[in-house]
Subunit: 660 residues, 2 copies
């Protein structure tokens, strides 16, 4: 479980001064280390793994107790005569546009990033700072992050408490470049399994094997595409004499008398599955895996001493996978895991080690042991979390404010290179009453879900809250089916965008200011977003008007030509558009010349479609490279993939479409 | 060399009367046999091979010395009391629209068909009658055609001289149905090799191996696509003591010291080749093949008695292929043959046997011995010739009238199901003077050639007449290159049309009235034609105006929407269009919704393109099934082919293009 680090920067890229070391990672990115012992850190941190970047041209001048490092974009000044440390008086960096950053400056123009969880919040939750800022710069403080040691696991830094390890990004308002620079030193976003882009079914419910099978069959009978069936925590035994039962590892044979057989059945029906985990309680004597795991940990099973969850202990971690995770992957065929960590943020055994980060990191790596792609369904662990898709945003309230916050969070998370959110589509809690009462909200949520990274329908453990599509009235049901079918059809496009995210670092969903940093409207239109390279999505997030039975959606269309993705209607950009639509209305706009490949058969599986539907729009020449691979393995890193170019050019009414 | 005949009609489909037999081949097609001995013919004729068609519903009434056969479309009346024979007074057929055909009626409304050759004619030559007629009926007299006997070869009929064997087509003005009915009883058009659709180079010239290689290399160096290099009669020894040397079978080692090696070189360069043959003189002692062939024929080689060409002799025919044709195919790698028969029309050994027909028939069949497709380059042998593509129209004059006649002939030949003409593109003779003097004519001819079935550039044996594209001035050269490149790019489309011709009986080129029989303008616009399922071609056939330097082309656009294939300009149909264009102008119109697949790389070979270019037009939903196979073999008859459907639909500005 050790990544292929490349943490040592070139000697030529480093500049030392009294108590500091400046590493020129690029003309726009500097690493600023302060250490009174002048013992600097070359080991990979939890965040930064690749410091060995190409050395840009830069000049170093010394004299008069002053160190100056000048790149093409930055001019760092360190006045060590005043104090050989980082202070507002000693350290400053001037950007290319004349902006001067001074040590300690607050990044007031930060546009926000991701968040750990939306739990307990109904609506907008406070976002962490991201890397995007109207200030033109961003500082990532890496001082407190652990570093990887000799044992391949993280350990505390040797640096003194006053030491500082900062990364300065000074690329102005070139947000794309900033994220590219960040990705260059922190790592890339891995490809996710193709099937993950399909529709998910998730419910906090004590499903029996047969009951869940019935749900899946229900989707199949109605030709509603489904690719993932989530099994919440009640897959395991919860009743025990040791703890509340949230943590569990033993299949509940009352609900799942034949787990392996059931999973095999799911697979035969082109359904992948995941199990919800709450690892915090470790493993207690009642668990099937306890005896072996206890012995592995040097615990006499007869003592019935529990195996405590210890993210700092490599032994525990090794055992965790070997005795808990890997057996169920291999024996029952579990496809991936849903880590529902909500407990402590810092390991009692090691300061700075967040169990959530540890689990995400290790689970992602561990999944590759069988050639499968890194893939874990867990909460955002903080910066660097983009290496561990996909994110679980937490238990959402069944409310319009909670719905509205999801596209906002999804978009701004691009500011931290985090693009694979799996929100609770439809919400989790607070849906009191009959499911028909939440029909419109659920319909809109599902439409947003179809235009989100991961479309996971979710329901809480409430008998009156049921989100099966066919349990609603005609109009709601039709809207749900349309949205889910559209989602499935978009998989060819979405998968190519996943590849784009992987190779170019452009998330599927990104805020408007990502491409229009200078536009004021872009910063304000936080609830719409670019949806891939071709589309702009602005799903309805509010109730229909009682009078007209229409919902109103304000959409900001950037300069240029835009087309309604569904109707093909033309819209001139560079203005705000007030769109009114009925329940079936789905505001998605295609850019001029947009090329959107889709699966022609929404009834099919998530594999490469037998019949491909290309949706195209006029107004500009465009090229789209459709990406295809086996959908599940890491073989694509060895060139096992195919790209089919679609290029369109217009001459009068003549459309030339080249394929290959 | 025996086809799979099915010549016996069902008993239920036959009606006999005094001296006659009526065979109801379909509700619209009747076979009318008169034989005073009442011995009727069930053997396959040179034309009709498939009489065993589904029996339609029909009624027979007898009485008062009168026989009446009534189908859904036809009512035949035979008044045998007057005379038990076919006369104007005894035989009549009433069509569905009330038109009455009487025996002996001239088909005055016949729109013409094909012709044997354009030799010695400068301009329009008289056409044979076709099956299309404004009269609403057509009669094919099969009486004088030979029948296939027990030996698998043709022989004279046993019928008395007064006997008659007629086929009546009475489908009104449904020209498509008529040709389908004709094809149903006569046979289908076989697939031609894919490479035949590329550009051909043909010159009546004493090419040496090296010289022809130089020509091919010239095309290659200039990135001008070429797929077939024709070697005229001087490939063989012409000087001999026995005859004028037109017939020859021995490679002239002075010109071709290494024929096998040269052909191999051609093949390595993706060039197919053919040798010109004048078989009439048979084989004389000076030929390399003489000794063995003589012995095969029971001729003492020492006697030096020539092996006479005898199309009636099965032994000769067998030897012809085994000793002359097959060895050069197998040993030298000759791809196909150009039968340049201009001698006698009737075999002295068998009346009614046209050596041209015999050669076409046998060559076509023989080529399949190695799994290759039937393919022979020869003159039109008469009705039924559609089974033996491709046609050599003869030596054309280098003149504008001769150019104008070629599209006319090509279009009207669809009236006899004959669609694969290989005209002398550029003309053959009369090109006196410097090639620059014929620049414009040659340019226009090449443009037509690109829009013709087989694009064979041809030149005569005149040192001042040279049609190599690069031998002209800039504008002419550019036009030639553009036309040849366009041709090559169109191969994916053309090949699909070849498949369409094979399976549906719709030729690549067909006259306007083929689809618009009721339009007067369609009959008059004889020099334009439908070019495949998607296009309408009306190449420039006249000189540019001295004043404006523009050529004027009158184009009749049928009702509907049309688009300039090159520029995409829209044109409303249902009217005559006066088009003015410069030398580069090529009038080709795409129908509403047209889908034209092209090879994106004109520099490539004729194989399935690595990069496909789809040219599409708006105005209608359309589906195009791109056809692909190995391009050369008959494996397609066993299902060894692939069809890729391209379907486009429009919704506003939204274009949906489905592939698969």
């Amino acid at each position: 479980h050790v990544p292929d680090f490349d943490p040592v920067a070139a000697d030529d890229a480093t500049v030392t001064g009294p108590n500091v070391r400046i590493t020129v990672l690029s003309a726009r990115v500097l690493r600023l280390e302060y250490d009174p012992t002048e013992t600097f850190e070359d080991r990979p941190s939890q965040l930064v793994w690749y410091r060995d970047r190409p050395v840009p041209d830069f000049a170093v001048t010394r004299g008069d107790d002053r160190l100056v490092v000048e790149t093409d974009a930055l001019t760092l000044e360190y006045d060590h005569g005043i104090e050989a440390a980082f202070t507002a008086e000693t350290l400053s960096i001037e950007l290319e546009d004349g902006t001067v950053w001074t040590y300690g400056d607050e990044n007031e123009g930060n546009l926000g990033g991701a968040l750990r969880t939306v739990d307990e919040v109904d609506g907008a939750a406070p976002l962490e700072d991201g890397l995007v800022s109207t200030d033109g710069w961003a500082v990532v403080d890496d001082t407190d992050r652990l570093v990887f040691g000799e044992d391949g696991w993280v350990e505390p830094r040797d640096a003194p408490e006053s030491s500082e390890d900062l990364y300065f990004f000074g690329d102005g308002q070139d947000y794309e470049t900033r994220l590219a620079d960040f990705r260059a030193i922190t790592g890339e976003v891995p490809m996710i399994p193709r099937w993950a882009l399909g529709n998910w079914w998730s419910r906090y419910w004590e499903y029996t094997q047969d009951e869940l099978r019935g749900v899946v069959e229900g989707f199949d009978e109605r030709d509603i595409p489904l690719s993932v069936a989530v099994i919440d925590m009640d897959w395991h035994v919860v009743d025990n004499a040791y703890h509340d039962g949230w943590t569990g590892w033993t299949w509940n044979d009352e609900y799942f008398p034949d787990p392996a057989g059931f999973v095999e059945w799911l697979h035969d029906n082109d359904i992948k599955t995941t199990l919800n985990l709450h690892p915090a309680e470790g493993v207690h004597p009642h668990e099937t895996q306890y005896a072996d795991f206890a012995e592995f940990m040097g615990i006499d099973p007869d003592s019935e001493e529990p195996v405590e969850f210890d993210a700092a202990d490599p032994q525990f971690l090794r055992g965790y996978f070997e005795h808990l995770i890997n057996p169920m992957e291999d024996e029952e065929g579990v496809d991936f895991w849903w880590i529902d960590w909500q407990q402590w943020e810092q390991s009692p055994e090691m300061d700075g080690l967040d169990p959530l980060w540890a689990l995400n990191h290790l689970h992602s790596l561990d999944r590759t042991r069988t050639g499968k792609r890194p893939f874990i369904f867990s909460r955002w662990p903080g910066l660097g979390g983009h290496r561990y898709p996909i994110g679980f945003s937490g238990d959402s309230y069944i409310s319009w404010p909670s719905l509205r916050f999801q596209p906002h969070l999804t978009a701004t998370s691009a500011n931290v290179a985090y693009g694979w959110w799996s929100h609770d589509i439809g919400g989790h809690m607070g849906g009191e009453g009959d499911p028909q009462a939440f029909g419109e909200l659920y319909a809109r949520w599902t439409q947003f879900g179809a235009l989100s990274p991961i479309n996971r329908i979710h329901t809480t453990k409430h008998p009156f809250v049921d989100k099966r599509p066919w349990e609603f009235d005609g109009a709601i049901t039709e809207t749900l089916e349309d949205a889910l079918s559209l989602r499935h059809e978009l998989i060819p496009y979405l998968y190519t965008m996943a590849w784009r995210d992987h190779t170019e670092g452009v998330p599927l969903v990104r805020p408007m200011y990502y491409h229009h940093p200078e536009a004021e409207a872009a910063e304000e239109s936080v609830h719409q977003y670019y949806f891939g390279s071709e589309l702009l999505a602005a799903p309805h997030l509010s109730e229909r008007d009682d009078e007209t039975n229409l919902a109103r959606r304000s959409v900001w269309l950037p300069e240029g030509e835009w087309f309604d993705f569904v109707t093909g209607e033309y819209h001139e950009g560079g203005r705000w558009l007030a769109r009114y639509g009925d329940l079936a209305d789905l505001p998605v706009y295609a850019k001029a010349g947009a090329i959107v490949p889709m699966d022609a058969d929404a009834r099919a599986d998530t594999e490469n479609p037998e019949r491909l539907r290309i949706v195209a729009f006029p107004g500009a020449d465009n090229t789209f490279d459709l990406y295809e691979d086996d959908g599940t393995t890491t073989a694509h890193r060895d060139g096992a993939y195919a790209t089919t170019e679609f290029a369109q050019t217009f001459d009068g009414d003549r459309l030339t479409f080249e394929i290959g």
